[in-house]
Symmetry: D2
Subunit: 349 residues, 4 copies
């Protein structure tokens, strides 16, 4: 249970939704529409997304959360004898309760650097698999999963994505990108990847809603819908079809009205940058994350003190006397809370 | 796509949420709380449900939709060699895209009457299975699934539920009840089953939110939590854990404030009763449903006319010139719409 | 545990293998060959089968048993959202411990007549599915499973198979035939279906070894191997690849040397015909089986007596005082045992 | 396809069966017995195994091959939310085509040393999992899989097995041992683990037949049968029940007659020791395997020459000019073939 009086930097899903979303939900509440996403607002949301992705033929579907979305899309792409390649730190590798394996597929975990798979490591892995004379006894790499930003807040460059795409092309396997925190990439000055780039480079990707201003919801974009026939039934089988499907349509219609989604992450990036600046004085920053997640090493003796007034996340053990912790900001993080956080940290020393 | 000007009786998930829910979402929007359901409002909602179920030790968990809930609970109860017994018309048998089988379990379909499994049919089936010398070659019936109201809008009596329970006891298998439309049972004069009865008679049941006033969400109640260890991880694996878990907690906290859920279905029952009364003049009613679903037989030539102004559901072919159709009412159905519907039908003749 | 002194008519898998098989196993025992079926004898067996099927391009693979073969082939054909259509009495529907569902797929059970699916029933089912506006919420029929002979010993005519094939063509789904007892069809005068016919009409079928003279083993024939890419890996995943793969190759090489398989069932058919002739005096025969399974109705009071000297199978309850029982003959059934069986039955009266 | 004139050291499954097995199959061929393992010879085989394991209450079941056995036993132990811990080089991790994941379970791969999991690494892993506050989002380690000998031919000491057992006890999870090549451990002077030790230390293990003198077959031993209820149905679901179950019973009855299994690996160990002795002159041996697998580093330029007269296995790349290769011996390896192999290798230099 959470003491809501504390400074809340534990995650980017601690409040409700962007006000525009609640307003629209209220306005449309009495409207009566068909279920399962066959309503005009959902149709409008899909159109907005197709347009900003410069991909008029794309299939766009709204699902509920990240684990469900990953399990459904991966299941839709893979055949029974195939697995999905992912960084060993990938969300599907570690933190989805085995949802991919529950669907019958192995996660083929690759070594990572700051949460990213390098094109070289991927290329070597794929080449080794096909050259191994015993490969028919092994799970075939059937697609590649990456996240952007990664679980460590880092970003792929457009050049890196192109190289990963070429690797996938060489073995004719799809590339799928998990954009749970995509708004924080799009708002980050270091990012050079647009939504249209993703539509050009990925076989599927999802635009995260839950962590980027919505109450819940993720928008899957499949640039060539022929790649995923019968996706509705696959969604249904995964429990991913909402009877009141418009709940998701309404939210994404707001998130993409006037390109809101492109800007919604800006306060989070500004806040995270300020925290990084403040921490640089006395703390070691980790992973080089430029987005809304800030990782730093802190002495264990300070953590208890910090926890008295701040909600943050223990990330991993650093050494016997230090821990890596995470501060996450979001679309609604307030400047005064950031300054107070830095004051609290300043007093720890 | 739906013409929202039509009289909307196609289903009970065509509008948004009960106004109290939207109000509470708006009020709490800025609050910052822990994710994954570890927030105080979710805790309050669980307590309200435990109390009304007279079951202080029950585990209560909030999931997103019916198919997901069924797949998760059934997967939690069954071992790999077991299947789930259900009416051949049960939602899990027909309309969940094979979600149960995707989890590795067979749906053992039994003959039904108006959507219900009779205790006799169930008892005979279980007895036959165990007496068949080849039963180790067959899927073991590992639990029983029923819905209340059923997919045909009918209700089990408390006496029938007790008999089903005794059947389950005799073979030491759990009884699970799908209450997607439970509010419409609770508001129906013919119903003699309370939430406390369900907690006493079922090993698990769910209280439907999506079709009963919420934007989305179902509340699973497990009277003896030891029966389903590690249920959170099972939920996670099924993509059924929301990062912003409080979205469900808030809704159920409102639905069970001042026992709202017990009364929320009343307008729907009144409306359905009025429609049944009106139809009895010239149409044959089907299945004997006393709840918010009204089924009747209509000449095919009239259907096209009716569809010009009314949204309803084609249920099944009756004969070469007639069809069974369904009108569904809900917690927000307006009296004037009902009267207009009856006028439209009156003019069809 | 079995008293081996009794007359053994309980099943067609009560002895070892055809003597030619044991001889060849002994002759080749010291040979050293590559594993996993990459040996010259297995290659020869595949060639013999391709030749007798008049299908030089067919993929032929040897698996261990019927349940494994069905689960593997069905898993290879279906996508995650599809199910397999079968008679409600089909082996996969009832007696394989839920192996198909364990692979994630629903068995879509159809009404049957004497173990057979009629082309009309199949056509109606497929048509109804695709015409149902809710079909995207339902499991898509993705292939059709039939057995020949059926579980009731009956046979499809070539004309019926052609009609089933046309139904499958109309919906572009594969037809798969389980030939666990295929030798007994091929040896039966009523049968008008050849192995070449099966290769022409089915997308896959298996030639049963276990019940037809082998120690174990089933030969899957896939006329167009492009339909099942990566079948070896699928087999591996199902535990269906033997390290000493030649154990299966050797057996099928013998079964198809000099067309042995076409004749090996003849003694069984002669024996079954003689039993049917003998039973016709005082007993009602069931299901019209013309192959190696004989079903008849017997008074319960006689069964205990019969069981003292004969091994047979209880099939199902007929009425309160009668039971349907089965006598099965096989490739090695001895004429004197048949005559003794008939004498025993004669004395029951 | 294999040139059978070559010296065959590629694997331990290149010939048929121990002569006693073929003899017994021939002697019993005409016997008629019940199917599915309910025959007196299978019963005798189980008794012999229970006796040599000093475990009279053990359940013993015969399955077909290693992948099938591992998938079936692991599926029997795990609940849906659990995974199986294994060395990253474990057979289930790499070479079973994803059979464990196809059953819905993650293989939790641990770092290994010469194919073994150290008790320290296991203990740390289990402790870390339970101490991680996010562990409910992760796959729970539900059992531990080890192989003995390992895939690298190495052996656990009795002391190491006891420590692994204690780790499992601390977290109340079962320990399962894959004994595909167990005969070669039992015949190895370095081994201090008996069958009775395995029965005392493991929750389940299997005694390998396929690689140890049988045509096929593995014997699963479950010391406390209450741990795996309904194992027959689980086997059936995995396609692991043979209609002619006695084919496995007969082989294991011979393998355990007069303790044959304890001695059957001796020729293989003698042969492997002689090869190791011969190789030590000019080659680097790898992994320290004392059993029937000999690994050494060879210059790539020599491999082609060697392959002209010898069948061996490419194991893995060592460096740009060297490769690790494997010679495997078996129960029937002839001394003269070993000497000829050493002469051939001697001439390579």
């Amino acid at each position: 249970m959470t003491n809501t009086k504390k400074l809340a930097f534990a995650s980017d899903y601690m409040k409700g939704a962007h006000p525009a979303i609640l307003r629209r939900l209220t306005e449309t509440n009495e409207m009566q529409t068909s279920g399962y996403g066959a309503d005009p607002i959902t149709a409008s949301a899909k159109d907005r997304i197709r347009k900003i992705c410069a991909c008029p033929q794309a299939e766009v579907e709204f699902l509920v959360g990240g684990t469900q979305t990953n399990a459904t899309v991966i299941d839709a792409f893979l055949r029974s004898w195939q697995g999905v390649v992912a960084a060993e730190t990938g969300h599907i590798s570690l933190h989805e309760g085995g949802a991919i394996e529950a669907g019958g597929h192995k996660v083929l975990a690759l070594p990572q650097e700051n949460g990213k798979i390098s094109p070289e490591v991927l290329g070597q892995y794929l080449s080794d698999y096909w050259q191994d004379p015993n490969h028919p006894h092994m799970v075939m790499p059937g697609m590649v999963y990456i996240s952007h930003p990664t679980e460590y807040g880092t970003l792929y460059s457009k050049a890196e994505l192109k190289e990963l795409r070429e690797n996938c092309n060489a073995y004719q396997i799809p590339l799928y990108l998990d954009g749970a925190r995509l708004a924080y990439a799009l708002a980050c000055p270091e990012n050079d990847v647009t939504l249209a780039d993703l539509a050009a480079l990925c076989d599927a990707f999802y635009i995260g809603g839950t962590k980027c201003g919505a109450l819940l919801g993720e928008a899957v974009v499949v640039p060539d819908p022929d790649r995923l026939p019968h996706f509705f039934t696959i969604m249904k089988q995964h429990g991913a079809v909402l009877a009141k499907g418009r709940l998701l349509g309404i939210q994404f219609d707001e998130l993409f009205r006037d390109d809101l989604y492109l800007k919604i992450g800006e306060p989070a990036i500004r806040a995270a940058d300020r925290i990084r600046e403040g921490l640089q004085q006395g703390y070691r920053l980790c992973f080089g994350s430029p987005t809304n997640q800030v990782f730093c090493v802190m002495e264990n003796r300070k953590l208890e003190l910090l926890a008295e007034t701040v909600l943050f996340e223990y990330w991993e053990k650093y050494d016997d006397t230090h821990t890596v912790i995470r501060f996450a900001t979001d679309w609604g993080t307030k400047q005064e809370d950031v300054e107070e956080l830095l004051r609290v940290i300043g007093r720890l020393a």
